[in-house]
Symmetry: C2
Subunit: 199 residues, 2 copies
Amino acid sequence: MKVLLIGANGTIGKLVKQNLASRHEIIEVGKTSGQFQVDISSESSIRQLFEQVGKVDAIVVTAGDVHFGAMKEMTSDQFTLGLHSKLLGQVNITLIGQHYLNEGGSITLTSGSLSHNPTFGGTNFSTVNAAVDGFVKGAALELKQDRRINVVSPTVLEESWHIYGAAFPGLEAAPGAKVALAYQRSVEGFETGQEYRVW
Amino acid sequence: MKVLLIGANGTIGKLVKQNLASRHEIIEVGKTSGQFQVDISSESSIRQLFEQVGKVDAIVVTAGDVHFGAMKEMTSDQFTLGLHSKLLGQVNITLIGQHYLNEGGSITLTSGSLSHNPTFGGTNFSTVNAAVDGFVKGAALELKQDRRINVVSPTVLEESWHIYGAAFPGLEAAPGAKVALAYQRSVEGFETGQEYRVW
């Protein structure tokens, strides 16, 4: 399969590539790295990416910025970061990408466990992750000709625990390879509208 | 209690008012009607509202626009409608309103059952409703001094079934008075971070 991997150079993106690369052709996309570049917060940049790449069998997104900080001081602009990057970015990749997806192809988005396990400072994450999960539930009804869409909802990865772990007292990290399996399940599997929780 | 009711002239707003009015002082806010006007998609308009109204004991939001339409033709701008009105509108009311909420006061937002029961044409609803639910989970951790926040997630009301019912084959409408009870439970009750589903 021809797999468009947006966010290929991130922690999760690299693990997904490692899982998929031996069986599929991976087109690596990054903000500044990879074979192609995209700014997912820009609709025109996403449109340009698909015009360059053309038709694919799978779209995997492991990219998106979100604001972390206390709600008491949070501004609307800070909150908008997550809405326009991780949320609207993934939505726009789907809205535009659906027209570049081969029959039987799949889209795999990324949310995260803060949708259900909130933490102090994480309101933007809780909102955006839940939103992506909700979007996928709705979008799955509307993709036709066996096209599928799922979302992977990981907790903090073992590989990132030293950075983020302190914000999640009493929670367990997930091995990166296990998170990558959820992406494989979506890309190579048969289900649609699913939220694959790795937590 | 002094209750700020944003969306007082809508179908749900009127039912909430009917439930609460005999026991509380209701400040009615609408886009064009009510004692005060607000455009919830505008941060400055929300800020102006709170500067005019001052401190309150409860904030209830039953307002917010969302786009309904097939995903195949949906544009980013159409999708952004729900993000900037029903989602960011309620978020901004919370971010600004938290500083005008008396100790022990509550915020009650509105999502809806499409977060979990998607329908064709409803991707913007599924996304925005799930996002509001997620936001409330996170925000509840950060409000201090017994301040609470909950969300009411109604299905289609019996009062609106003749307009929207066709999009929900096999689902049941909820009596408006029952939906209003969920708002009462949030305003007069003791819980926080709850999603009161009326479906």
